[in-house]
Amino acid sequence: MRFLRITTLFALLASSASFVKADVAEGEKLFNANCTSCHALNEKVVGPALKGINEKYDEAWLIKWIKNSQALVKSGDEKAVKVYNENNQSVMTSFENLSDAQIKSILEYIKTPPVAQASVAPTNSADVASTEAITPTKDSFYNNTTFIALSIMALILFLIVFVLYRIKKTVQGIYDAKFPEQAALELEPVVDVRTTWKYKLFTKHPVVGTILVILGFTVALGIYGFNYGQTEVGVQQGYAPAQPINYSHELHAGKYKINCLYCHTGADKSKQATIPSASTCMNCHMHVTASAKYDGQVSPEIAKIYDAVGWDAEKKAYDPTKQQKPIKWVRIHNLPDLAYFNHAQHVKAGKVECQSCHGAIETMKVVYQQSSLQMGWCINCHREAKVDVKNNDYYEKLHEDLKAQGKSYATVSNIGGLECGKCHY
């Protein structure tokens, strides 16, 4: 009998424990589906941090609040009005579709989050640490270690060459001293100075010689100067200026695969691809502060965005007293005013990938100008690149004409892409 009682007690205990567990798991699921776009357990997001909320308010009130907070505020409930005003008067979404039991399980989850949930921050920072440990090896080829190693190797090579040269000289000296006759024989026979071309040119006809030398220099410098003017003057290929914010395309476009047009919104509808306004940054950086890397502080680079738009990171709201100012990004691709270029024409109608002119931007930590942007470079592509006329409404008529002619593709030069007036007017 006693044994039975104990077993039933244990069974009850076990079942109730598993009951609570199921509750918490259910609550976590619901929490992630409904609450995370505004709330976190330990930090303020849009709404307040939820840890300790169970002690602060009673359950019945919380259920009422979650189901329809505005009704509660309008009814003049003191606590409700206070919470509403404390959080920039942003309205909490009503969750009338959630049942009381579901809300209770969410509250249960907030009260006792599973251990894994609590350790989210540490794993995050460990994540960050491990990526940091990896990044140096992924750095450019000429990182410090490689450079030093190569320098040392070069130095050793020079030393070896020098030593060998000295040895050769010493051996020659010994040889000359030991076998003077042999050495004398090996010397080059004396030639008459007057038969050499140097004597004929510079001593016999000094004027001709001088003119020839000057001519030679002129031609050499001319070739060099022409080549220099053609490939260097006004060509900014390789230009990689430091930007006011250390923004990495490798991270945003590469790792997170954010579409180019997400930020450069003009590329498919205007002449300019456009630099995004700081409000575009704020779409994500309202929340993302990279604080795990900086001991809970906002990353200094992200703080520059906050400074530009007047965002208060503590209150999670725009501060109207702060002056908004533009971020002075440095423009890299500067086409001269004498040439017309239109992004929309190439991106929207021509369906040219951004990378075909700008290079693999998604791998660049610091963006540099990959193409020369010279006329020859433009024309070359206009001659060679095949326009995708098949799946493009814009070229429907052109495609029909091409098919009638028995051709399968067109280049830009076929449709007037080599006319001077296309770009210069």
């Binding site: 995370t36 776009s37 994500c284 993302v288 500067n334 005013d337």
Partner: protein
């Protein structure tokens, strides 16, 4: 021996001179006659000036020397007159008022395709390609879980969705400056179609 050393030195020196003038790092390289390069008219996004203090390329009128300006308040862009009614200021009342709006566009093949294109550019980083709220940023744990459309759309309506895209809602930013009203309605058609929710 000595002669060849001189030749080597000369070659090295000329290489250094040549390389020193090429563009790279903060150096944009040599420019000849920049007057031909810099636009006299104020070009958007341009920050070049022919020379310090000259009026060629230097914007002395706008604050911070910016060439871009915000549209004048109360103006409506070309082709957007039909959508002017959907323009409410950001407020809690506007959000409620927006629920009266119906999507003015047909859920045609073209509108859905265009909506899909715009969705895949602007929304997928958070909402994910399938609309379940598991975009690349969310999956990496950098951003909190975003609600799935199939959960949230039944509780709101297209008008509120339009308001939310325009002004942002909760953690979501404002996309009113990025998408035109027409494009916003196209995206709304697409997300309802994607999640299989009928607009109420």
């Amino acid at each position: 021996m000595r002669k060849s050393i001189y030749t080597l030195l000369a070659v090295a020196a000329s290489t250094v001179i040549m390389v020193g003038c090429s563009a790279g790092g903060d150096n944009p390289g040599i420019e000849y006659a920049p007057n031909m390069y810099v636009s006299f008219a104020y070009e958007p996004m341009s920050q070049l000036a022919a020379e310090e203090g000259s009026s060629n390329g230097n914007n002395t009128i706008n604050p911070y020397g910016m060439n871009m300006r915000l549209p004048v308040k109360g103006t409506i862009a070309r082709g957007q007159l039909d959508y002017a009614t959907y323009n409410l200021p950001k407020s809690n009342e506007s959000y409620e008022a927006a629920s009266a709006w119906k999507n003015p566009l047909q859920s045609s093949e073209y509108n859905l395709a265009e909506g899909k294109r715009l969705y895949n550019i602007n929304c997928t980083p958070c909402h994910g390609e399938d609309g379940l709220g598991k975009g690349t940023i969310v999956a990496d744990g950098k951003y909190p879980q975003v609600p799935a459309y199939s959960d949230r759309l039944p509780t709101i309506n297209p008008g509120k969705a339009f308001y939310s895209i325009t002004h942002g809602k909760n953690l979501m930013g404002a996309y009113g400056s990025v998408l035109t009203p027409k494009q916003r309605w196209q995206v709304i058609h697409y997300i309802y179609n994607l999640s299989g929710v009928t607009a109420n």
